[in-house]
Amino acid sequence: MAVQTFLFASLIIFSSIESNHGATEVSLFTNLENSLEVTAKPTRVGVVWEAGKDIVRITWMLKSSAKVNDDAAFKTVEVKLCYAPISQVDRPWRKTHNELSRDRSCPHKIVSKPYDKIPQSLNWTVDRETPTGTYFIRAYGTDVNGYEVAYGQSSDAEKTTNLFSVEGISGRHTSLDIASICFSVFSFGSLLVFLVKEKRKAKLQQRK
């Protein structure tokens, strides 16, 4: 019994030692060049943007300070909506990770366009399904294979400036509320009806 327990325990222990896969090439954020300049200008300034309603003018281009041929590798530019640190607090599913394939901080894709040497821009309506939060905009320059080689963002390196807030839709509907009330009343009501009916039957029964 003791031997079996020991063997079983060692099986558990050895299985839980994580195996080391062979190291593969991974894109790290710290390896990226900050060679893109991204700006985001809302049509309404100074207010919280509403999901599905407000329009933002996003522009991106190669930085004037960038070296020549910095953009040789770029094939496409992917513009994404990223969470600011304040929207990441106590929310581990939005964590920033240096390894880009594991990074969860930029889940909302805005647009993906082929790279052009001239500055590009887009009038983007904030997606209706964007959750409530504080954001900034980041653009990744990706190469032929889809790996990120450079980036640019509308905020500074610490992600403290030029942030904007979005208010998501509530998802509530009056029709849903009414249906909910109706069914709740039905539930209570049918229970009451049964109680009353059975009490009456019992009274009749006793009288017999």
Binding site: I12, T132, G168, I169, A179, S184, L191
Partner: protein, 541 residues
């Protein structure tokens, strides 16, 4: 004379004996009525589809039948319990959507999870009284139909506070565990009640698994009709709400409290041994074994309830599965209940046949500890196949431990059986609340770390089973008492009655139970030749 329930001769493997088996001991002088199946005691089998005993409780368990009233009660009972599990954990697989809609933090989600299991701590305790006073039918129907509005009110939820409040109110419906087990206990005879209750309990618990499949599917279908995700998840809650209303109506129209009719239409003449609640409560609370079982169930059922809340989100976040796939994986945890819990009870019965109560205790310890070890492994697994394997083994171990625990619980007390089962059940919810609060409600631990630490805590909190000692049967490490008096079952169960009560013959049910429980001596029961001792009570009246 007090007719008793366990009148079958021979030893009984009463595993998984249910809750509040407060035997309704009626002398049947019932008025004839079209809706109550009033029959004479001298013609017991005439109107029943299944063979019955002298109290008209079924002697046979036929899961595929819907015959009135026994099998119908079984099916209505377990499906009601199943529906309530679906509602209570319906939010869990949709949390990735809900957390974006309501801007929830991990703390908010964890607290709501704690709230979802906390309400039932109180409602389970109250349900025992409700079943006694109003019958199992109304107990079940109240639970279903009074909490259905809470399920529908998810359409109003706008922030973390209201989300928590709604989940708390939905959680009250888990009291159907008590009413379901109570209902089967009055419908099925003692010899088979273990299997019946194990099936009812296990199949009901499956709801926690089915919901992980059902809700993402419903959500997806609603989205296909054009709704945004933030509306679709609210509408998805209407399905569990409908199910609850439908089951409530079925229970009220098709169900029957007792084999002979409904409580309100039966005359309660000749009812004996209606015990005093204060006494029953005192003996339950005074017995230290009750509290050890409270803790133990908190780390078998408690862990299971916690996993129902966190596992879908865990697979979604850690392994990047879709909502749908994460739901399938999470569902297989709960679905294992279909066979795992009855298996645990069966294993307990087999161990008792060979080694008596000591076998039951060891079975319980082994199953629960093994389950907890696999939980530690689950938290540490970094690849999806290993995680799924660990989760499956973990689920079987923990759920079988739940079944095995209810193989021990019926023997802790005879007088307070119902209350002890109710307290144990509440312990499950309490354990779930504690583990969610400590490990899954803050950013202190990642979910993976939380799982492993919860497994460690479960291993530690299973050790107290070694301290459960029955003088007549022993414990995990100690032999039964050699003392002349204390080594008898009658002494243990008789000890719950005062001399005055004994002189009134109120304890006779316990003595009969003590005789039947000699099976817990294992193989030695065959060798033992202990005549029923004189209890010193006056001649049976």
């Amino acid at each position: 004379m007090a007719p008793n329930h366990s009148n079958e001769n021979g030893s009984i493997g009463i595993s998984l004996h249910g809750v509040t088996a407060r035997e309704q001991i009626f002398s049947f002088s019932v008025e004839d009525a079209p809706w109550s199946q009033a029959i004479r005691s001298d013609d017991p089998t005439a109107k029943f589809a299944l063979p019955v005993d002298s109290e008209h409780r079924a002697k046979v368990f036929k899961p595929l039948s819907f015959a009135k009233p026994h099998m119908r009660a079984f099916h209505l009972g377990w499906i009601s319990f199943f529906t309530c599990f679906i509602s209570t954990f319906a939010a869990a697989p949709l949390v990735p959507v809900i957390r974006d809609n309501l801007d929830l933090t991990k703390t908010d989600i964890g607290n709501a999870g704690v709230a979802s299991v906390s309400g039932a701590i109180f409602s389970r305790l109250a349900m025992g009284a409700v079943c006694d006073l109003l019958g199992a039918r109304y107990g079940t129907a109240f639970s279903l139909m009074l909490s259905a509005p809470a399920v529908f009110s998810m359409s109003f939820v706008a922030d973390a506070g209201s989300y928590l409040a709604v989940r708390f109110m939905i959680g009250f419906c888990l009291a159907t565990f008590v009413s379901c087990q109570y209902w089967t206990s009055v419908m099925f005879t003692g010899k088979i009640i273990g299997l019946v209750n194990g099936c009812a309990g296990g199949w009901g618990d499956m709801g926690g698994g089915v919901t992980q499949l059902l809700m993402p599917m419903v959500f997806h279908v609603i989205k296909l009709t054009g709704a945004t995700p933030f509306t679709a998840w609210r509408f998805a809650f209407f399905i569990p709400g409908f199910l609850q209303i439908i089951m409530g109506i079925l229970v009220l129209t098709l169900g029957q409290d007792l084999p002979d009719g409904n409580l309100s239409t039966l005359q309660k003449s000749g009812q004996v041994s209606k015990d005093k609640f204060s006494k029953v409560f005192w003996f339950a609370v005074k017995n230290y074994r009750t509290w050890i079982l409270f803790v133990l169930y908190g780390f078998s059922m408690g862990v299971e309830l916690t996993i129902n809340n966190v596992i879908s989100g865990y697979f979604y976040d850690r392994f990047n599965l879709t909502l749908h796939t994460a739901g399938i994986v999470a569902a297989s945890f709960g679905m294992a209940n279909f066979f795992a819990r009855p298996f645990g009870g069966y294993a307990s019965d087999v161990a008792a046949r060979l080694f008596g109560m000591r076998g039951r205790l060891w079975t319980l310890w082994i199953l629960q500890t093994v389950g907890a070890l696999f939980c530690i492994w689950l938290g540490r697994a970094s690849s999806l196949p290993i995680a799924i394997l660990a989760m499956m083994l973990f689920s079987v171990g923990t759920q079988a431990a739940c079944g095995a625990l209810f193989g021990v619980a019926p023997f802790v007390s005879r007088r307070s059986l119902g209350l002890i089962s109710g307290l144990t059940g509440a312990g499950g919810n309490f354990g779930s609340g504690v583990t969610q609060l400590v490990f899954f409600s803050s950013s202190r631990f990642s979910t993976a770390e939380g799982l492993s630490l919860m497994g460690v805590m479960a291993v530690v909190c299973t050790i107290p089973v070694a301290f459960i000692h029955f003088p007549q049967w022993g414990s995990m490490f100690l032999r039964p008492s050699q003392h002349e008096e204390r080594s008898k079952e009658e002494h243990y169960y008789g000890g719950e009655w005062t001399e005055e009560e004994k002189s009134l013959g109120l304890h006779e049910g316990s003595i009969k139970f003590a005789e039947n429980s000699r099976s817990e001596r294992g193989r030695k029961a065959v060798l033992a030749d202990i005549p029923t001792p004189e209890t010193g009570s006056p001649a049976h009246v």
